[in-house]
Structure formats: C-alpha cells, structure tokens
Symmetry: C2
Subunit: 445 residues, 2 copies
C-alpha cells in the first residue's frame, strides 16, 4: 500500500484549485491539493490514487480557459507547477529538455539566448506552463506558419494512472517506430497520464520581422482579405483580426482612436530572411482591396501596432465578466461566421466581441456580461449565446475548440462534434490508459 501523499486540505488551497481563468463556477471544491516538487511525488500520488480510487486533477498555473484543470468534489488536485526546471537548451540539436512547470515565455527567453525560438505562443505565454500547453495542445498567434504545441513536442515523460513512468517519442526530428504516443498524450488534458518532462523542438529565431496593420470597413471585409493574403502566396507568421466593437473597447481603455480608422483591423507580421518582401506583397494585396495599411518603420512602431491586439482582452475585461470562446472554422467561412456571431449576440441580447487568429480560422468570440463574483453562475443568455456559437462552428465544418481545450466547459459538445462512433473510440482509448477512471473525471471526452 502506497502512503497517502501530503495533502493540503486548507480552505485557501482548495478555493484556488477550484478555479481557472475560464470563469467556470462549477461543483464543490476539491478534497485537497498535493504540491508536487518531484517526479517521485507524482508517481506516489498516482499510485496511492489508483489504489484508493481517488480522482486526480493535474494542474499547472491555473491559467486554463476550459475548466480542464479545476478541482472537483472528491478529487485531489495534483499541482505540478513546482516541478519547473529548464534542464537543458541544446543549441546543436535545437531542442530543450524541460519540466512541466516551466512558464512558456521563460523557455522562449532561454532559447533566445542561443538564437533559437520556442515557436508556439499562446496568448497566455507569460503565465501558462509548458505542461499546461501540452495538456491542451495550446496554439497561439504563430499557429498558421509554425503549427501548435504538438508540432514541437519530440518526447514526453509520462506518469501513467498506476504510477508507472514511461518515456514516449524520441529526440530526433524524424522517427516512425511504433504509434504516435506523443500525439496521443498531447492535448489529452490530464486524462491519459501526467506529463512530468518534455523534450521540445526549437527553431532558429527569425533574423527579422516585418509588421503592419490594415483597417477595413467591416469584419467581413477583413476576413475576406485574409483569403486574399493566403492566395497571394504569402505565409504570414501572425495574421490577427479584431472586430469593430473590440476596437472601440480598446479605444475606451487606452484613449486611442483605432475605431475611427475602420470597422475592423488586421495585424500582420511576416518573419525570416524575406520578411520585408513578403510583407510588401501582403500590403499591396490589402491596399488593392482598399485597406488603410500602415507598415511599421521601426521595431518600436511594430510593437505599438501589435499592442492593439494584446490590449483586446484587457479592454474587454474592463467592461465586465468575460466568457472566452475559441472556435475555428474553414478560413473561407470566417466572414460568414463573424456575421452570424454578431447576429447571435443581437438575438440573445448579449455583448459579443470577436478577435482571433484569422490565419488559421481561429476566432475568439468574447461574451461580456455585467461584473459578477467568482462563484456566480454564468448568466443564462451568455450560455445560450455560447451554445449557439458552438453549434455554428460545427455547422460550418469547424470545431468548438481550436486551442483552449474541451475541459468541463464544453464537454457536452465534444460528442456532438466528434460523432458517436469516434467519441466511443476515444472513450475506449481513455479507459485503456485509465481503467479505474481516476484521471480528471468529468473533463475532455
């Protein structure tokens, strides 16, 4: 019999572990929190949980947006944010060996010291952990060009449900011995095992970047312009869209005058040796569509152009309680999707603001409702709008979650997107890896 791990059952720890940044205010608080500081702590906790049938919710920084890593009644939260060393940056192999609690931006900064870059850049890069990024297969601004977290994970150390430790994947870029278990664990939201180590791919840091903003009359026009950019042969590293209501919110917060320049904005960044020529092509394409384009002349100006995009969420949080959605649709349907989302907002009488990663069809509709306490339930009209946005994403051939995860927040929708046969296959794989059902019950598929 494995000894019970040291569980913090204090009010403060249980309160904190019951929430993430999704605004979810669900079930009762967890039984307690285990602050793991070593792989052995994780192994012992899972071995004990397996023997006692105790549910375990693995958690990092708590920055999740899908209530995937929130403690629930009867569960022990396994906090791995304290296992947080960057073990190695290998400039020859261009890879990093890290523990799960490393903050993503810290890894990128360590890579930068060697002229390298950790390419995935979720919006939460400054507060989220690599372990959480792996658990959700986090995306980010550079996804259309560089891919998502899964594309940068070479190998994982995983503690399985029974406490055993395995290493999956490899440290070479290519390799096809056996099935792709790295892909299986990445994005599995702590339901198949607990990631305690990762070997991540790094890429050369781009020699230069080039940045522009383009204002167009409407969000639909801006979305249409992204298709023209794709058709031009350019492949921007960043291609963000911000709708008019969001621009007004940024103006209200910052005293800027963005909304006066157009009904929607695109922020574009190219990178690499040909960044300037590639951006010139993008700018010419946008100007041919009548856009008001401003190309940054200096790095400082580029930063100020990108700042608008970074201010979008804080500007909306200043207006009330935010419910952050995360759909993706085929790029050719972006304009239609944005129009439909605004119509849904009107019909449900809620405020919905839209921005997102237009380059890969990923929109973040933000439903803003009046300020409320953390335990207050989400207003019914907000949930109704969210449900209609999910249904819209599926109707348009897209997904209910591009990069934030299913978690508890969207679980009722996962089967609807996947279909009953694939959903059943997924649950059988889950049961194979976790036969007692102790890993993050209630989350994911």
């Amino acid at each position: 019999m494995t000894a019970e791990p040291r569980i913090d059952a204090g009010e403060e720890a249980r309160d904190a572990a019951a929430r993430d940044r999704s605004g979810w205010a669900g079930s009762a608080r967890p039984a307690g929190v285990v602050q793991a500081t070593s792989v052995d702590d994780v192994r012992r906790t899972l071995a004990w949980a397996d023997e006692t049938g105790t549910p375990v919710v693995t958690r990092g920084a708590g920055s999740g947006l899908a209530a995937a890593a929130v403690g629930v009644a009867g569960a022990v939260v396994l906090d791995v944010s304290g296992i947080d060393r960057i073990l190695e940056i290998d400039p020859v192999e261009q890879l990093a060996r890290v523990e799960p609690g490393v903050i993503t931006a810290s890894l990128d900064a360590a890579a930068a010291a060697h002229g390298l870059m950790y390419a995935p850049d979720p919006g939460s890069v400054g507060i989220s952990t690599i372990g959480g990024n792996i658990a959700t297969n986090a995306g980010g601004l550079r996804g259309a060009k560089y891919g998502v977290t899964r594309d940068h994970v070479l190998a994982l150390d995983v503690v399985l449900a029974d406490g055993s430790l395995v290493r999956v994947g490899r440290e070479t870029l290519k390799g096809v011995t056996g099935y792709d278990l790295v892909g299986l664990f990445t994005g599995s939201e702590g339901t198949l095992g607990v990631v305690v180590g990762a070997t991540l791919r790094l890429v050369p840091r781009p020699v230069r970047t080039a940045t522009a903003t383009a204002f167009l009359p409407s969000a639909a026009a801006a979305a249409g312009a992204t298709a023209a950019i794709a058709g031009s042969g350019a492949r921007p590293a960043v291609l963000e869209i911000i709708d008019g209501p969001t621009l007004e919110a940024i103006d209200a917060l910052d005293g800027s005058a963005l909304a006066a320049r157009g009904g929607a904005c695109l922020v574009v960044q190219t990178d690499g040796f040909g960044a300037d020529e590639e951006l010139a092509l993008v700018a010419a394409t946008l100007r041919s569509l009548g856009a008001d384009v401003r190309v940054a002349a200096t790095p400082e100006e580029a930063e100020s152009l990108l700042a608008a995009r970074r201010r979008a969420l804080p500007a909306l949080e200043a207006r009330g309680r935010v419910l952050i959605e995360d759909i993706a649709v085929p790029r050719g349907r972006l304009a239609h999707a944005i129009e439909r989302i605004h119509a849904i907002a009107d019909e449900e009488r809620v405020d919905v603001y839209v921005f997102g990663h237009a380059g890969d069809g990923n929109l973040h509709p933000i439903i803003v409702t009046p300020p409320a306490g953390p335990s207050d339930p989400m207003p019914a009209e907000a949930q109704a709008a969210a449900d209609r946005i999910f249904a819209l994403a599926i109707e348009l051939g897209g997904t209910i979650t591009a990069e934030h995860g299913v978690g508890r927040l969207k679980r009722a929708w996962a089967e609807r997107e996947l279909g009953p046969e694939v959903h059943a296959l997924q649950t059988r794989i889950r049961a194979l890896l976790d036969p007692r059902g102790i890993l993050n019950p209630g989350s994911s598929v």
Copy 2:
C-alpha cells in the same frame, strides 16, 4: 454473414503482392489479392475478414522499404491502389481531399496548378501513394523545414477492423476536441485500420528556391558542417549529405567527376522570399569551413546540382543488390555515426554507402551485395551489418527507422528501441483497435 470478396488467387497476383522494394524475401505468398475500387469494397473485405478471422494486409503501390505491405501466408492482400481520385484541391482553404491510391507527385502537381505545394516529398514521390505515405508517416528531403506526412494530414476516413467507417480529425488547421487519432493512424502501417480517404494540408508554393552544392574533405567534415549551418540561423528546405563511396558510384554510372571535388558532398536548397539571402549565409558558413561551394545561377543549374542526389540510389542499384537502411541520430552525432557505419562495413566485409537527409539527422546507409534473385535470402554479412547499424542508432539516441517504417524487416528491433513498457502499451492499443488480430499481423509493433 458477409459474402467473400472477389479474391484473385492467380500466381502472378500472389507473387507480386508478396514483395515490395525492400528486397525482403520472407514467408510464403499470400492466399490472394482483393483489388478494391471503392470504399464499400474495403468495408466488405474487412467485415468478411473479421467474421472469418482472415489476416488482411493493406497495400498500395508496393513501393515500401520495410516489408510492411507484403502479403504473407494465409493472408489476403487488400490492394487499394485503384481507389485513386483527387477529389478536390481547395485553394481558399489550402487543402486537398484525396483517395489513398493517389500518387504523391500527382497530388503535388495538382496543387501546383493553384500555386500550392504538398510539402512532404519522400524519395519515392513519383511511385508511392498517399495512402502508403500515411501508413508509414513518410518523410523526405524537405522534412527538416516542412515536417513529415503526419504534419500535413488534417483528417482521415478509416475503415476499422470490423468494417465500420469512421472519420477522424478535422478540416481546420487547429482543433483540440478529443485525442489525436489522426496521429495515431498515421504511421500505423495498416495495423489499426485502412485509410480510404484523407484531407491534406497544402502550403503556398515557394516563390523561389536557391540551390548549392558544397564539397568537403570527408563525410565527417560534411556532417560537421551541417551543425554549423544550423547554428547560422538558416533553415534550409533541403540539406542532403552524400559520402565519398556514393559519389564514386554516381561518377561510374554517369561519367561525372564528383569524387574528384571532395570526399563528401552537401546539397543545400533554401526556399521562400528570402531564399537567396539565406543561401548566401549558408554558402558563407560553408566556405568559412573550407568547403568548395557552387551556387546555382539558373534553375537548370540548380536541377543539375540536385541530380547528383537523385542519382545516388540508381548508382548503387547498378552495383548489386541493395539493402536500404533508414536510421536517424541526433544531428550532432552524424559525423560519428557515419564513421562508425564505415567501420562496421569494413569489419563485416560488406560495401556500405551512406547518403541521407542531414538536416534532420536521417541517414540511409545502403548495404550493397552481389546481384541475386528476388527470392534469394539476404546474405548473412549484410544482415549482420544492418543489425549493427540498428544497434548503433539506438546507442546514439536515435531510431532504427526515421521514415520507412518498421514493417516485417525491423520488427525484432522495435521493442529494443521502444523499451518493454512502451512496447506493451503500443500492443495494447493495437489490440483495442484490432481485437481479433487480423490487420497486418507480423508487421509493426
């Protein structure tokens, strides 16, 4: 009871289906061949096989190099090469919908008509099928920059072992609903299901390429130079290495004088808007190491520089029977690996030639033995050398197969690379998807 499919039990069909291009001359021929021309054919064949417990080996063009798709005693070979339509090239979404029998180069040509590219480019691109590429997770020359097949598969239609049809994945670039089943099926060598359709990602065709060759005194020096290229910040699309004995074989076939220029050769191609500047950086890096560098001034000259690499395998096939190996090692160990491979050749008294994709550490040591008939067993010294090369790859932290697959050829080595725990996990996943064990028994894990 499902009716028996139409099985061709003729000598010719059974002979042809018992071989691929690996030189494997294994067990007795299969019982017969089903030439599927529709998804329904595949479903009925699997439903019948499931009911009768008949082993099924799925096969495309037969261009495999690991004996993964060869018919074995008692098995029915399910030939899907006749399900071969390109259903759609969607230039807005930059994706293709294809059937499994499409020849990879045909897909790329169809994409090119829209200014797009199917990025994975296995050496077999002109003869292998997309279905086979997916089954082996095929790599290719552009792997270091563009990734492998798996990185370009968005969705798959898969017939499972019981004949049911499922669709996994999605048509958007991002999406995290459920586990990554696309990754699980890609590279599974027909052991988890039969791929009958795929949605593949396309990318903008590079506006230009720039190409160079560089001759260095030795293969070790050339391998060392690839690390310097990586350290320069360049990210070539192609970075190939050819050792001295292979250069001599090409000279013997073509009447060229490559070997006189140096003891080993690198072939480098950059692409995209900054291709020329990026290649200039690579060339300067190589010249600083004393390399004899030639940058192509015209597209025709670039083609002639690449031709040497393309002639490597034909040049060796002209010398005898080839056993094509496919290891990958960490890039920093390439030089050491090549030296060790040549030492193994000397000790085992076989001829081994080495070329490969240096950019991602993928070497193809080619063991050449005297000409022999297709049914003659591989000479013992060739197998001994191959086994020592596998052991070397594992010792150096690499893999026994970077892109060709495990198949029957390397099956004994898969567990050694994966370790018993991960191998057991893999076989449990296999059993979950194929409880009766009818899918490609004897291949993969």
